[in-house]
Symmetry: C2
Subunit: 653 residues, 2 copies
């Protein structure tokens, strides 16, 4: 085989211009404007184009169907599905009610607002969402985010009404941003928060949330509004010097142990999934009864006290679009929107994959957006898909999003009936319910996997984690996104320029670091530019790097001492197969390189130029300067040509 | 040839693992830490390593030589060189004196500060700089930059001393930043201001500077301190309603015509280069004499009045490092540092290329930095290489940087002798000298060239131009740099995924858009990812793009109707030859892609993975999932393998 290949090379070479026919017959690449129009057409107008073929009445209906998936699956909904959804919905509600009250507390709101948030957003989502398992409602991380950012603008204790106004306005913004992301297909914005950043952020947030619960668990009255570890711990230590009520701690920690035991049971036997799901509600009921019967509230046990009974009240008049903090409220809205979406889509996607269907990210964003807009008008704060409740919903065997409807109705009923009963619920029990949900947010095995795979990703993880822990939620996120983008920009401004060598007996040229057994040809230097853009940010660097490599070869520093001075470099072959585009600085760099080489009697050869690059070389008349015959389709062709040319001239001598 | 090639393919294929030996024998790529150490070693410690071989005394001397190039060329300096340098230096001084006074006026400083700036920085530069032609001193654009940014902090009219303090402190910062850039080899920071941005910025700045001169030309007393076109023009119109002195305009415009005529003469006959170079000084002398003899200052002609005689005075005590604006002053310093360096290096490089030597950017930055630090201690503001004066220096036949020394000494002498004479110089003449220098800053043919080559670069140019013109200097720069980096980030988050086809009778696979005659193989889809990083920002996009291409092929939308349903896709070959690295999101995307394909009975094949990518695939155990035999060295090999496999199985049936 090897002999044949070599003979092929030897014989293929003599043919005049064997491959450049391809370069000559190349069509013009699309202009920037054509590409832009094409992008808009495929991304924004795609739906309309498909619908041209249908009747107008069908158009409206199919459009409605695409916005409200309930119109599709609703027709095939059957009774035996409802049985399963009913059971799942009731299980969900029993977990949702205590969690909602706890998360509302974490968000700095009265308990009923958590319950409201478990009513309207799930109902809207069930009309528009395409996930079958996602359980919508308040979640820990978003509650923390909201409270930590809004309390910078307005203290929730001194003026709870103003605080609430800001929360609802931020919720409206979050919903609006989510809907806009969905409408304009900006889902890629979610990607900016990489998986590693998210793991670090969630773990940091979990610890911060856990520390916040110390207030409830110890029954402390004075507590910092900051979220970083240092202020929270110092606040706890200061408070512990004052008299505190150990009864709170006893109640809280004993029920925490109960919930954790229930979870342990549920994990060992998958059929007992309902035990950990019911445990929080049982704890609430038991603890409330104990307090009520023993009058423990008189002995320092903090209780929830008044919860306003009744359904969600409208909050349109509480939205403030002319306040002094509007810009900051919008910023809070966009951060919550992104974090909420990232969590919902991650959770939704992972369960969709288990059941074997795909979620449309853009539709999900629309659904979440309208859920939150509707929520902000009905006294809800930002809702999203909860990981723990979605898992319960899935285990309970939900079939469709009807389980969310069942849950919402149950919560509505309990808002009428249960609120009077919740008067005596100790706050310590809410803290222990939140604490019990936190371990799910800390993904240690995920972090280990990231450490093994990619050290820089791990650095991003650690930055997000420490940023959230010791500075603030925003700084943690900013750090993570900043490092992620720095990596991208660094790889653009410092691309690699590799020396290539031939893998013996083949036509393949590989990086001589990757393939140490690849052989170089004397008098030829083959370099590959590994950057998709040869542009202002890297053109000078690439030019200097190439000139340095040439100098090295000429000085014989390149390991092979025998090359020294004996053979001066005659040809530099530039493999441009990875370069997708040039800007003017790139063109200038190539021109300078050509000139510099020409002044040293060295020929610059360009191999496998891509579409736009070749086109731009022509435009810049660089093609004429380098000369057409020095542009080759492949590195192999170029090397063969020059090796043959040299042999011929040797023969002549 | 073609038959042979095909036979080669057919026969090469049966050999078991023909190319994967290369993949197996690949060494481990360096870790992030090793790369970092290597980077530091080559970039920061490179000098020391080279010097290890020499004696310690030689070490010191060669270090001194590298910092002070005057030690190298000074030894070979000859008398006939000095004759040329003397002539060039005197010509330079005659242009430099009026320009320096005018630019000081533009910078909001008294005229003597412009002359000071033409003394100390050129002297320091002549010791440390490596360019032979660069004429150092105040320039128009940096003067404008300084005055526009510093007057935001302190009005130069109400408190000139405080204004001067800020200017000197900013100059110190500019010098310090330049020296740091040079020391730490941060020259690449200059690249961020692309050539296109610079052309637009310079043109905008020239127009802004020209408009500023209307004040001097019309002899206006009230004038805005803002630099944008709208405020300047409205200020001019408002002032023209008040009584103004037309004599100023008559003097200014007649001498402007004289200078322009002189330049026209100089351009037509290259030997008369000294006429345009002397014209400004002649104008100053003539105009001053006219005013002095006719007592025109009593008839409303504005004159320069007092210029303090004497050399540079120390200004160490005027540097303020504890003022309230320190952060902003440092920002002004870094902006001036970058603009000044960009201009100096661009000018220096272009003349060095003419004379056939290369400038070391890092050394130039050090030299400019120390020049400006020394300047800030001796009442100078930011100096840099002037384009117009460097051209005069070159035309006057300068041999070395000694011409700068001659110029500096001449300016020093004139500071003692000439200042009394300059009392009667009309300010209108300074305006016309600045105006006459502006056309050189507007590079229309350069802009046209950019328009032809790259539309996006032209957009950057226009953004910088309009930003400087209608908003402010900083906003113009920010816009240009912002758009430039948006392009880099966009190309990273939206990379192209191209379908490849075989160029008939070859082993080459090309983009089917670039080579429409390339043929696809039925049942195989070959895709190439053109991004150096498969990372968080583009992993989902690339995965979706690949899945969409597959769907298209399966739905038969892909032009070839006959493929429809008859042949389902069996193999997807992913050409990863341009992908240099993966992060965890990239690994996850590949995993998901593999799973999704596997559930459709389609095989994912990876062709030509690069060093780090292959290594990471192994780490992530993805290699096992995809199976080793589905990783190939080249696309051609993979295609041949599957075509053969299918033929074999067909034969079996």
């Amino acid at each position: 085989m090897s002999i044949e290949m070599q003979s092929h090379q030897a014989e293929a070479a003599p043919a005049e211009e064997p491959l450049s026919q391809w370069l000559i017959n190349m069509p013009e690449p699309p202009t920037m404007w054509q590409e832009f129009v094409g992008y808009i057409r495929t991304n924004v107008l795609s739906k309309k184009r498909n619908k041209m073929k249908k009747k107008p009445s069908n158009q409206v209906y199919s459009y409605l169907k695409s916005v409200f998936p309930i119109l599709i699956w609703g027709r095939q909904y059957k009774l035996n599905m409802f049985k399963k959804d009913l059971m799942a919905g009731l299980t969900l509600a029993s977990l949702c009610i205590p969690q909602s009250i706890g998360y509302a507390n974490l968000a700095g709101l009265d308990p009923e607002y958590g319950l409201y948030t478990s009513v309207v957003p799930p109902l809207i989502y069930s009309m528009m969402g395409s996930s079958r398992e996602l359980a919508i409602g308040p979640v820990a991380v978003v509650s923390l985010l909201l409270s930590s950012m809004v309390s910078d603008l307005q203290d929730p204790v001194t003026d709870p009404i103003a605080y609430r106004k800001i929360v609802f306005t931020a919720t409206f913004f979050a919903g609006a941003f989510q809907a806009i992301f969905g409408l304009f297909r900006l889902g890629f914005l979610m990607d900016f928060l990489s998986h590693a950043a998210l793991v670090g952020f969630m773990a940091g947030a979990a610890i911060v949330i856990g520390l916040q619960q110390l207030k409830g668990l110890f029954g402390l009255s004075h507590f910092t509004s900051k979220t970083d570890v240092v202020s929270v711990l110092s606040s706890v230590f200061h408070s512990l010097h004052h008299p505190w009520q150990p009864l709170n701690f006893v109640i809280g920690s004993s029920f925490l142990i109960f919930i954790l035991l229930a979870r342990f049971l549920g994990k060992r036997n998958k059929k007992l999934f309902w035990i950990p799901a019911m445990a929080p509600l049982i704890s609430v009921i038991l603890a409330t009864l104990i307090v009520y019967l023993t009058n423990a509230e008189t002995r320092g046990v903090k209780i929830v006290k008044n919860i306003k009974p009744g359904f969600n009240r409208p909050s349109v008049n509480q939205l403030e679009f002319n306040g002094p903090h509007l810009g900051q409220v919008a910023k809070i809205g966009i951060i919550c929107a992104i974090i909420a979406l990232t969590e919902a889509i991650a959770v939704g996607r992972s369960f969709a994959t288990i059941k074997g269907y795909r979620l449309d990210g853009n539709k999900e964003m629309m659904a979440m957006g309208f859920s939150n807009i509707a929520g902000s008008l009905t006294s809800c704060y930002v809702a999203t898909g909860s990981f723990s409740r979605t898992a319960v919903n899935f285990s309970a065997g939900c079939e469709t999003v009807v389980s969310n409807i069942v849950m919402a109705i149950t919560v509505m009923v309990s808002l009428e009936v249960l609120t009077r009963f919740l008067y005596f619920t100790p706050t310590a029990i809410l803290a222990s319910i939140i604490l019990s949900a936190l371990p799910g947010l800390i993904d240690i095995s995920g972090a280990l996997h990231i450490w093994k795979l990619d050290k820089l990703d791990f650095l991003i993880l650690v930055a997000a984690f420490l940023g959230v822990l010791f500075a603030s939620v925003e700084i943690g996120l900013l750090l993570a996104v900043g490092i992620s983008f720095t990596r991208i920009i660094l790889s653009s401004i410092r691309p690699t320029v590799e020396a290539l060598g031939r893998l013996s007996k083949t036509d393949i040229f590989g990086d001589i670091n990757q393939y140490p057994m690849a052989t170089k040809t004397q008098g030829l230097l083959t370099l590959r530019i590994s950057s998709p853009l040869l542009c202002f940010a890297n053109a000078n660097f690439i030019r200097d790097r190439i000139l340095n490599s040439i100098q090295k070869v000429e000085e014989g520093e390149d390991d092979e001492q025998e090359v020294k001075r004996a053979k001066v470099l005659q040809v530099v072959i530039l493999d441009m197969s990875c370069v997708m585009g040039l800007d003017t600085s790139g063109v200038v760099a190539l021109e300078e390189l050509h000139q510099e080489l020409a002044s040293n009697d060295t020929q610059l050869v360009i191999a496998s130029p891509r579409w736009r690059v070749f086109h731009k070389l022509k435009r810049a008349k660089l093609e004429e300067k380098v000369k057409k015959e020095n542009i080759f389709m492949t590195v192999g062709e170029a090397v063969d040509f020059y090796v043959r040319a040299r042999t011929t001239s040797h023969d002549m001598c």
